[in-house]
Symmetry: C2
């Protein structure tokens, strides 16, 4: 097996000391142009690459950032991770991405992996079963800054990056009122206790109650995406069916649309539909679904920007959010 080139080997071949070689390669001003030249040439020739393990041990930095999300296979997280990866790459970092499902244990295990790999910083969107935030908050104590995003702990003092959840739900509610909807089936994925669900459901309900007090709201939560098709199916077939559906997220849009299609209803004539979405899915349907966009892309970029601030010493805790925008389709 071919051996790696090391500083020591270079030093021996050149009749220099290890430290001189090291400095020459880093363009340290002390080193004479001549030696610098010689060193660099041999380094090139022998394909020298600093041994990351050694550098990490010495500098106590890994140049790796961690991301813990519930799911990879989720439009929002995909966009978030892709954008984050791009930003992070520019700054010379790499990403270690782990998924937890909705299991608090897996999440704890993932957190442990991050600690073990000594990531330089961590981005986390928690599971809906995460009750104890303390293990996360220990990381900043040992020098690993942590940025929560999207699904964030409610009360703790920590860095949080979210969508303007209140605003997004309010926008959707207003749009439904504008179309004069009187009976809305509202679908939420995950537990009511989840921060996003709580905020959005409250804002949605309040807005409707204020602007159109007589509108009937039928609010449903379910952990299992499978449930939404039968739920919607059933509601659509009652004698007094809803005249509009609100889907909080892409996951729900899929089964809801399926139920609408199976019921042979057409949008917007027979039923109205509005979703909060990452943006891709609504355009697949015909007519396209009207939605409030909460795009992972922007959130990813913002998250890294915030981490850099923390690296630069701006360690005071902040809560940032990204505005939501309404994208008109033809479903309302």
């Amino acid at each position: 097996m071919k051996q790696f080139s090391t500083l020591k080997k270079l030093a021996e071949k050149l009749g220099l000391s290890v430290s001189t070689v090291s400095r020459a390669l880093k363009d340290h001003p002390d080193i004479s142009p001549a030696t610098r030249q010689r060193v660099k040439e041999l380094a090139e020739l022998t394909e020298y690459e600093p041994n990351t393990f050694a550098v990490n041990l010495r500098t106590n930095k890994s140049k790796i950032l961690g991301v813990i999300v519930p799911y990879f296979q989720n439009l929002f997280y995909e966009y978030f991770i892709a954008a984050l990866d791009e930003e992070v790459g520019k700054a010379g970092y790499s990403l270690l991405v782990l998924q937890s499902g909705e299991s608090a244990e897996t999440e704890a295990r993932n957190l442990h992996i991050m600690k073990k790999n000594r990531v330089d910083g961590l981005f986390v969107s928690v599971t809906e079963n995460t009750v104890d935030i303390k293990p996360f908050l220990k990381l900043p104590e040992i020098g690993i800054p942590i940025i929560f995003f999207d699904r964030v702990p409610e009360f703790e003092a920590c860095d949080k990056i979210c969508f303007a959840d209140h605003e997004a739900a309010t926008l959707a509610a207003k749009r439904l009122v504008q179309s004069n909807k009187k009976h809305v089936l509202c679908l939420f994925w995950g537990k009511p206790s989840l921060s996003v669900n709580q905020k959005r459901a409250a804002a949605f309900e309040n807005t409707i109650k204020q602007l159109s007090p007589k509108t009937i709201l039928d609010i449903r939560f379910s952990d299992s995406v499978q449930d939404f098709e039968p739920i919607t199916m059933h509601e659509l077939q009652t004698p007094n069916p809803p005249d509009a559906i609100f889907c909080n997220g892409d996951n729900i849009l899929i089964p809801a649309m399926r139920a609408i299609q199976k019921s042979k209803l057409t949008m917007p004539a027979d039923i109205g539909l509005i979703a909060i979405s990452n943006g891709m899915l609504p355009t697949l349907y015909n007519p396209a679904v009207t939605f409030v966009e909460t795009n992972g892309n922007k959130l990813g970029r913002l998250a890294f920007k915030r981490l850099q601030e923390v690296f630069d010493g701006k360690t005071f805790v902040r809560e940032l959010s990204i505005p939501a925008t309404l994208v008109e389709g033809g479903s309302l």
Copy 2:
């Protein structure tokens, strides 16, 4: 800032040597049960964790596996990565995932990151612009096994894991003949030179030519997913339009379906459709699209199994493939 617990600190507090402590923690048989007990207790108390950087340096292993794919946001790769991640996690490894787009330069940079981070093994699906495989093949020389998957180099001797591309395309072709289609628009994403495209296009064409020589095939390649909607649109509006469309992949299915919907055609009456797909997307439509499944999930698990074989010394080069299955929808 809180300090990490180390072997040295434990040793000092216990009045033992570093090596004894190290051995005690690894249940080395030499160590007496009593000391082992004492050591473990203090380790627990001080939340001792071996410093990965030091372990890596010492053992020259990272316990990290690399994955390089063109895109994260691609159903096939998502499933592949998710499955791989699961398998890999069970074996105590973590995944470092990087995306290259279709840029050979980005890919080279990614390869470099993998090398720098001294991953213990690497999974790669190449870009369509990758011409030089040699930089990849250098990794096995320095002890990093590499497994190519899906998009694999054509001629080199290396480990490859693919779908049964020939079989998948043949299945789709047969199914079209069975439905008596006479004029098929065939859509391929990426360059014709891409291994997957080459194999599938050839198999598809041959099968049709053999079973139904009079059937007209209109085969189109495009690098840009955007192109497929106008292409399909245009073809559907010619005086002699196709009676079926074959989509080689989920990416193409989306714009093709959009063109069908915009043209107000219904499946299967006005137009037939079959796709090669990862499986989720076809079920979103109504009727569901008939497809040949090439699921990333299975491929991910197989890929890790193969890597483990290589770790275990079975280093002879192998080319493995996964069978394809037809899933009936209502689009044909």
